[in-house]
């Protein structure tokens, strides 16, 4: 994802006056947009083979971690970023514990399918059968988090969501049912055979990446439609001024819960994919740093904008993976990759405070607001 997205940055300055790439894109007739979107999707499916491109390819792919696996990791980070973007970017609810939903999705799958589960004798389902139940559970978790926190604003919400994710992790660690650090083994992979061979095996991650990509595309369509409907407009109103929105007749409670449960649903999708690929999950994956990283990705990419969230989500997974196996002056940068990543985050945010691909709508709002405040 990163290469296509980065490529769109360059021509911006040349015809900025008319709105750059996105301005051009928006003015095209429907069929041109459809063709461009299809071409982009097709290119994305070819990403696992990017290493075969002479010269540029080998620079882009990761070392020390298998490139298709790195792509799969990027795909579930992108899903998480898309989901968090709904909560933070659209509805303006600061969620610091988003990994909680990812965990619910993964645990929902595990507990229904793994032979280690207490339910195994009753369920012991296939992966696909467990998915809808696991996703329903994450949406419910979204409502459970959303309901008591409806009255909370901004940073109070942030700490409560953080606490929510920590409670999920602690419960998963401390209770026998969720098996803590021992985890669930033998979670089945997604179904399907091709020419008599299992598609979703263990040594090849490309099918998982493609599956992730299909889910991402479906989510993009779904969220895009929501954003352009009454729901999306209500989110915008809540984000900008909750009191005003309420007075104007927006049912803030309802739409906040919508945002939470849709965000949770998308995070849960990431979780079920993750469980299906890994075959094993335990509580030590779902740490707080994970949520914070995803939030950093969304804001870095451009909060409130799907293209931005996708780019940001991909980058937070790609940058640390790409920094593996690079040495400068004889010292391996292995150890420094997260420290460097921190520095990269600061640089990106300072250079582009609205994110790499800022949301148009938000950029305009901020411009308006800039006139109101006194200069520093």
């Amino acid at each position: 994802m990163s290469d296509t997205a980065v490529a769109t940055e360059k021509p911006k300055t040349s015809f900025r006056g008319s709105g750059g790439v996105r301005g051009w894109f928006g003015r095209q007739p429907g069929w041109v947009r459809a063709v461009v979107a299809l071409a982009a999707a097709a290119l994305a499916f070819l990403l696992p083979y990017v290493g075969d491109i002479p010269l540029i390819g080998p620079q882009l792919i990761t070392e020390g971690i298998d490139w298709p696996s790195a792509l799969f990791n990027m795909s579930y980070y992108v899903l998480l970023a898309l989901g968090l973007n709904v909560v933070v970017g659209y509805a303006g609810l600061l969620d610091l514990g988003y990994v909680g939903f990812f965990a619910v999705g993964a645990y929902g799958t595990a507990i229904l399918t793994s032979k280690d589960s207490v339910l195994y004798s009753h369920t012991g389902w296939a992966w696909l059968a467990a998915v809808p139940v696991a996703l329903a559970a994450t949406m419910l978790a979204g409502l459970i988090l959303g309901w008591p926190t409806l009255r909370l604003r901004g940073d109070y919400l942030a700490i409560v969501t953080l606490g929510f994710a920590e409670i999920i992790r602690i419960v998963a660690t401390n209770t026998q049912t969720f098996r803590g650090d021992r985890g669930f083994t033998g979670i089945p992979h997604p179904p399907g055979t091709w020419n008599g061979k299992v598609i979703f095996g263990v040594t090849d991650a490309i099918p998982y990446f493609w599956l992730g990509l299909v889910v991402i595309i479906a989510v993009i369509f779904g969220v895009r439609n929501l954003d352009r409907s009454r729901v999306g407009r209500s989110w915008l109103a809540i984000r900008e001024d909750e009191e005003a929105a309420e007075i104007m007749g927006v049912r803030t409670t309802k739409f906040k819960l919508w945002a939470f449960s849709i965000g949770a649903f998308i995070g849960g999708l990431g979780g079920v994919l993750f469980a299906g690929e890994q075959g094993f999950i335990n509580s030590s994956t779902f740490v707080l740093q994970f949520s914070i990283l995803v939030l950093a990705g969304v804001v870095m990419g451009g909060s409130g904008n799907m293209a931005g969230a996708i780019l940001g989500g991909a980058l937070i997974s790609y940058i640390p993976d790409r920094l593996r196996g690079i040495s400068v002056g004889g010292t391996d940068l292995y150890e420094y990759r997260f420290a460097m990543f921190g520095v990269v985050i600061i640089i990106i945010m300072i250079l582009r405070p609205q994110g790499l691909i800022p949301s148009r709508r938000r950029a305009m709002e901020l411009k308006d607001r800039a006139k109101e405040v006194a200069p520093l």
């Binding site: 696996s69 401390n174 985890g183 030590s284 593996r324 790499l356």
Partner: protein
């Protein structure tokens, strides 16, 4: 205009960052100048945490492993076997991707690792499919050998061996009448503590659980419970990171009893955290023999090479690497041959003698559990072999 310029610079800078990082790519293909000598030009891999919060144990193992390969190459007089390192960060979610990049390298015919049980569950199916034999020096979860992986070998006894030994040490050697049992809820620590608890039965006066490594530093509630329970011994199922802090806070609160633990606590890091004085007398059990018993020069060689003392499992990793090297030297230069060789091997190393069952477990007759005691040197030295019957 300024804004436009700044944004353009921003975009370019980011592309530059990534491209720049990519430009100074390390050539991972490395040293293909397949050195002379027969059965050379192959790679042995270390798979485990080299960075991240679990890195200490991983680095201990990697250094022991690399030392063995280096000594072998020196003896051969060439760069016969190459070391390949794969950093899993000890995390189950990272492990599969790294494992897939390992199996893509067809020159790798043997793997030392993965050190932790969680990452083993995630990575071993991939190694099994690729058929590359593994020897883990430290993943002790009992169920690993029941997963049906043909390539799985474990160079230490599993959790079932250590728990009863620790319990019998507490009962017969320490003769403690009141024992407090706590664990860190890791699969390792909890498993160990549960066995100890059930073996000690009524001697256990109270128990508690703490959060895992790096999740808790204030143990005052545990300290208070231990003190008020009147226990004279505390068995902690967990790693040295937490154990060092607990020992220090217990001592600061004036508790005079003995702290005991499993091999996860057998590391000088414990006394570095707690202070040597406080750590003296702390007993750790380990399903391994004292390195000095082997009479080799391992301890000194390790210190000379890495400038630190050998840590937990460094010696087992050293042995694991040597098992592979001996097999390669004998001409087992494919993964299949090497795996078959492992099923018949009988190798006397510095920490133990190794012989694997058909499930990849260490042969039960060879399992020895020793007790080690921290002394004024700040390290755990041999105390006695524990007889479990």
């Amino acid at each position: 205009m300024r804004q436009v310029l700044a944004r353009a610079i921003g975009g370019v800078a980011i592309i530059g960052l990534i491209a720049g990082a990519a430009a100074c790519n390390k050539d991972s293909g490395g040293s293909d100048n397949a050195a002379g000598g027969s059965n050379c030009g192959y790679k042995l891999a270390f798979f485990g945490a080299l960075t991240g919060s679990a890195a200490n144990l991983g680095v201990n193992i990697e250094q022991g492993f690399e030392l063995a390969v280096e000594q072998y190459n020196k003896q051969k007089g060439s760069d016969c076997i190459t070391v390949a390192k794969f950093d899993s960060q000890g995390a189950a979610e990272v492990a599969p991707g790294v494992a897939r990049s390992l199996v893509a390298d067809k020159k790798i015919i043997g793997i030392v690792g993965p050190p932790f049980s969680g990452e083993s569950e995630a990575a071993n199916p991939i190694f099994d499919e690729a058929g590359i034999p593994t020897i883990t020096p430290s993943a002790t979860r009992t169920s690993l050998s029941a997963s049906g992986w043909k390539v799985f070998h474990r160079a230490v006894a599993n959790d079932d061996a250590q728990g009863p030994a620790a319990a019998s040490y507490i009962k017969d050697v320490l003769k403690a009448q009141k024992v407090f049992v706590a664990d860190d809820q890791s699969a390792y620590g909890q498993g160990l503590a549960d066995v100890v608890k059930s073996k000690l039965g009524p001697l256990v006066v109270q128990s508690d659980k703490t959060e895992g490594d790096g999740k808790q530093t204030d143990f005052s509630a545990l300290v208070q419970k231990v003190q008020s329970s009147g226990a004279t011994a505390l068995f902690y199922g967990g790693y040295y990171t937490n154990a060092g802090v607990i020992r220090k806070q217990l001592t600061a609160a004036g508790w005079k009893g003995t702290l005991l633990g499993g091999d996860g606590m057998k590391d000088p890091g414990l006394s570095k955290a707690s202070g040597t004085q406080a750590a003296i007398g702390t007993v750790v059990t380990c399903p391994c023999s004292p390195p000095e018993a082997a009479g080799g020069t391992f301890v000194n060689d390790y210190k000379a090479k890495w400038n630190v003392a050998a840590g937990t499992y460094s010696d087992v990793a050293f042995d694991a690497a040597n098992i592979f090297l001996q097999g390669i030297d004998a001409g087992n230069t494919t993964t299949e041959k090497l795996n078959t060789y492992l099923s018949t091997v009988n190798y006397k190393g510095i920490a133990n003698t190794y012989k694997f069952t058909d499930k990849g477990e260490l042969d039960p007759s060879l399992i020895k559990v020793w007790a080690f005691k921290f002394d004024a040197s700040g390290d755990a030295v041999k105390d006695q072999e524990i007889k479990t019957s």
